[in-house]
Symmetry: C2
């Protein structure tokens, strides 16, 4: 089985690729080849795996070749992030809308050339498809069937691609489904300019011994998931029978709905009060305004039916991050030894 | 004021153009120029109006020039119909998705060149955005805020374009809104292959003295609107302040929700029992199956707030058709003189 992971050099994509390679199998078949398509080079551990083929460059320019290939499955994660797309409208159109369309058309062309089964495709959508609608207030907890009303280009393009995936599937060109990712935390590295970036920052920076600024009040609630739980969700959505989706092909991945105060209580339990003290509250009206328009939580009834559940405690999400940092002591130098 | 009507040579587009020219004004301004863009030539009465400029050819190939223009308003009606798009997937993508995107990008480019106010844009969407969702049954009467789940490429592309129009508006490139058209009846001419074609046929053919086949049972209910009420709705949506939409920019146009039996009772009242007798019921499982997945009616709460109401009686819809046929006696030769 040959699998394509777009965005496979990114934070989530690389974790997905590592998880797939460690499993060695997907949907009962052995993974012989794993193609990582990304505009950035793949991490060395992935690039050196004999099953991995790295293709570096914009996805849009890779699609003509993909139309000549026979793929067993696709995880389509490549995407510009929300903040970037608000600043650069063309970038959002190109990276999130045109690239997905070109990928779907390449898979359609490949399906037209061959008698093989069409590839299964998991599209990584986002909880950003939901936004406030003054006439129909956004429920505090969004469900699979909540009416999407995106308030960003990023959310708009994700929603549009969900509908393209559904229509290409209905027509028999692919076997597609869309998984709406929650805010994935704790992200490693530096703040990325996304309005949600502080959700990772208020955990990551204190653990590294640095001060962190929380721009919203402690009562703010948000749907989150750990990186590994998110990757496991993507794989489960891939492996599920189409019938399990009950017609609609987009579902919310499981979310732990948690307030900032609960996140910091968990940080104190896991890492001690000195670490928690490094978080200062300095309200940022711009960010607080954006976050006020977001759902306070999400539920994934269809995901639950696939056996997917959210983390039980935010403590587990922090522990996963600490475990991931085992080879990077600088990231944990704020922890009392 | 310069107005563009795409699809302006079509049945609805030409009626819209005639109505606009007869009014002479839109949104308090005089209409100096009305551009009719259509792949087919415009009717002679329109082409000969000194205010009209006819551009014949695919919309997609006209967009580069549109980017150099300054338009005060756009009615975007050009579209391949539902049945065609199911038979020819590429046609649907090109005519309904790519053309709309190219039009929006042309307007965006024009806005970037000029300091003038961005053009107001009415996109003609469709009740076809609604479809059945096994997990969340379609309500019998769809509302503005019913969750769309299109089951055709046509409905998918209409929904996608609604979201593009909303996002280009949010970004300030256009001042857009989307009006979801109900099934427009009575359409003149020949059956057009759309699954909904019989809704016009069971009125039009008997009035012309021909037998008509109704492929569904008399209890089938459907949301309809007359051509003129639909055109008036498009103009009202154009003229409404953006605030009247309360955030969400797509609304259902008013619908008269009526059963086939009620349509035929109206036909008998307006045209006599001999005319009604020309309708035979011969069930067509394919069409009946498609229609069974459609909403049985629609409500337009937001349209109502704009002062738009549906026809009170189907009789009025038939009378409008008879009035429209004044210059075409063959269309009415089934009427007792």
């Amino acid at each position: 089985m040959k699998i394509l992971v777009t965005g496979g050099a990114g934070f989530l994509g690389a974790r997905l690729a590592r998880t797939l390679l460690a499993r060695g199998r997907l949907q009962g078949q052995s993974i012989e080849r794993l193609v990582i398509a990304d505009q950035f080079p793949a991490p060395p551990d992935l690039a050196s795996d004999p099953r991995v083929e790295v293709r570096t460059g914009p996805l849009l320019s890779q699609c003509a070749d993909l139309a000549q290939e026979s793929l067993g499955g696709v995880f389509h994660l490549a995407s510009a992030v929300s903040g970037e797309c608000e600043l650069d409208f063309e970038l959002g159109l190109r990276s999130n809308l045109d690239s997905t369309r070109a990928l779907l058309d390449a898979l359609r062309a490949a399906a037209g050339r061959s008698n093989a089964a069409v590839p299964r495709v998991v599209f990584s959508s986002s909880v950003a498809v939901f936004g406030p609608d003054p006439a129909v207030p956004l429920p505090k907890i969004v469900q699979d069937h909540t009416l999407p009303a995106p308030q960003t280009s990023y959310g708009t393009h994700k929603l549009i691609c969900e509908h393209l995936v559904a229509d290409y599937t209905r027509k028999g060109f692919i076997d597609g489904r869309s998984a709406r990712l929650m805010t994935v935390t704790v992200r490693p590295g530096r703040p990325n300019g996304a309005a949600s970036s502080f959700f990772s920052g208020i955990i990551r920076e204190p653990l590294a011994g640095e001060e962190a600024i929380c721009p919203v009040s402690p009562e703010v609630s948000h749907p989150v998931s750990s990186p590994q739980r998110t990757v496991d969700g993507l794989i489960a959505v891939f492996e599920a029978d189409r019938e399990a989706f009950l017609g609609r092909l987009a579902l919310n991945l499981p979310a732990l709905n948690v307030t900032v105060a609960q996140m910091l209580d968990a940080l104190e339990r896991v890492a001690g009060s000195a670490v928690r003290q490094r978080v200062k509250f300095v309200r940022d009206e711009r960010i607080a305004g954006i976050v006020a328009n977001w759902p306070q939580g999400a539920q994934g009834e269809r995901a639950l039916r696939l056996g997917l559940t959210p983390e039980a405690h935010f403590d587990d999400i922090i522990r996963q991050y600490i475990h991931d940092c085992a080879s990077n002591p600088a990231a944990l130098k704020g922890l009392a030894s």
